[in-house]
């Protein structure tokens, strides 16, 4: 049933989302500025001593990445829902599964990828040992992709609600916890010299599961929210 050019349609959807994001660059920088601000909170809260900062740098960096991902993942579908283009996407002959995947991919490129690439700078702020930077970026690359897909489920279920903002984080934070466990474990392992390969492998496995199943839930959530 899928109309011709499904792949071109997904690429055009991806380009359209990136074009929309680039047209308003300030929104791209919001998660990064949020990340920097929250990283600055920790030394203020816990004292500037570099040793104990380094002690928990891995965990805090991952928690901050998770929170900034949570903030952005709420409004993924909201702007398209409000002006009606989400309805057109649901009615288009293209399979919704791939369209949603392209949608979330574009959102991840704009938030998760930049977060991961910028994280070494923030790691130095928290005095994370140098040898763990590579693992940090790798784990954040995989982890933020899983977080974006799970966040998409929360966003799809609450897109129709007027006050859905807070609710999305209530729904998907429990689903974020396994990603946080293995993500910060990978970086802590790298800090203490343990090879982080197995942890990254588990994160990659979670990513594959999320890619396979999350779009089904997101598509169902969108169909329900549009109808409410």
């Amino acid at each position: 049933m899928s109309a011709p050019g499904t792949l071109q349609f997904c690429i055009r959807l991806l380009r359209r989302q990136l074009l929309l994001a680039v047209r308003r660059p300030i929104e791209i920088s919001n998660p990064l500025v949020f990340f920097a601000m929250v990283v600055a909170l920790f030394p203020l809260g816990l004292g500037p001593a570099l040793e104990n900062l380094a002690g928990f740098a891995a965990g805090t960096l991952w928690i901050i990445a998770l929170l900034s991902n949570l903030l952005t993942s709420d409004a993924v579908f909201r702007s398209d829902f409000e002006d009606g283009s989400l309805e057109q996407l649901l009615l288009s002959p293209q399979p919704l599964y791939l369209s949603v995947l392209a949608y979330i991919g574009a959102h991840w490129l704009m938030t998760g990828l930049l977060l991961a690439l910028a994280s070494p700078v923030f790691a130095l702020l928290l005095n994370l040992p140098g040898q763990a930077l590579g693992t940090l970026v790798m784990s954040l690359l995989l982890g933020t992709a899983v977080l974006s897909l799970l966040g998409g489920i929360g966003a799809a279920l609450t897109v129709g609600l007027k006050r859905g903002g807070m609710l999305t984080s209530l729904l998907i934070l429990p689903l974020y916890m396994p990603v946080l466990i293995f993500g910060s474990a990978a970086v802590q392992g790298a800090v203490s010299g343990i090879p982080a390969g197995p942890y990254l492998a588990i994160l990659a496995a979670m990513l594959c599961l999320a890619i396979a199943l999350a779009p089904l839930a997101i598509a169902a959530g969108l169909r329900i929210s549009i109808d409410a």
């Binding site: 050019g5 055009r12 359209r16 308003r24 002006d83 057109q88 009615l91």
Partner: protein, 205 residues
């Protein structure tokens, strides 16, 4: 329902029944839309016209009893113009029609010209008026290959010549073997057989 029984109906609905807030909007509504027909759904505000159109096009799938069978690609134009303020009319229109296949640039420009937006192709939409947003959405009618059109108040916020232009387009589409189901408060001056569906009094004509 007299209709040419030869071809199967583009859209058929059996015993639709919708209850909204304890009030029963319509009950046991069954009708079939054949090629070459133009249906106009009438009713007071709140009679469920928009809900019926959303049920017919498959957007709302729960909350009603009965069944809708649609065996033709359809185009739905709702209240919201589905236009992104950050994009230009050209980008918006080329995105809208990219679902059913590729359209050349000239086709897009001609469609925009037909709705009176020539010269505004590359202006960001947030500088355009609401009426112009709706025209960008209506430009899709000129490029759509879908046989079945479901239009929700297409004439809203459109000036006199625009309405005439649209009515000629609708008759051309219906005469060419398409079908239109639309809601509108204005009387239509179209010279093809118009069937009325008054939600207050069940199925008429």
């Amino acid at each position: 329902m007299s209709g040419d029984p030869a071809s199967s109906p583009l859209l058929a609905s059996q015993s639709l029944c919708l209850i909204r807030g304890g009030r029963e909007l319509f009950r046991e509504l069954s009708f079939e839309v054949y090629a070459g027909q133009l249906w106009q759904i009438e009713g007071l505000n709140g009679a469920g016209k928009t809900s019926l159109i959303r049920i017919l096009c498959g957007l709302s799938r729960f909350g009603f009893e009965g069944e809708v069978v649609c065996n033709s690609p359809l185009l739905y134009l709702g209240h919201q113009p589905a236009v992104k303020a950050l994009l230009t009319p050209r980008e918006n229109l080329s995105w809208h029609v990219s679902g059913d296949g590729l359209h050349s640039n000239t086709q897009i420009e001609s469609a925009l010209a037909r709705v009176g937006l020539s010269g505004y192709e590359d202006v960001p939409c947030h500088t355009l008026s609401a009426g112009q947003h709706r025209r960008v959405n209506l430009a899709r009618l000129f490029l759509s290959e879908a046989a079945l059109w479901l239009l929700d108040e297409p004439f809203a916020a459109i000036d006199k010549e625009g309405v005439d232009e649209l009515q000629t387009l609708l008759t051309a589409h219906v005469k060419a073997g398409g079908a239109v189901v639309m809601t509108s408060h204005q009387a239509l001056q179209v010279n093809c057989d118009v069937r009325f569906l008054n939600l207050g009094a069940g199925v008429a004509a």
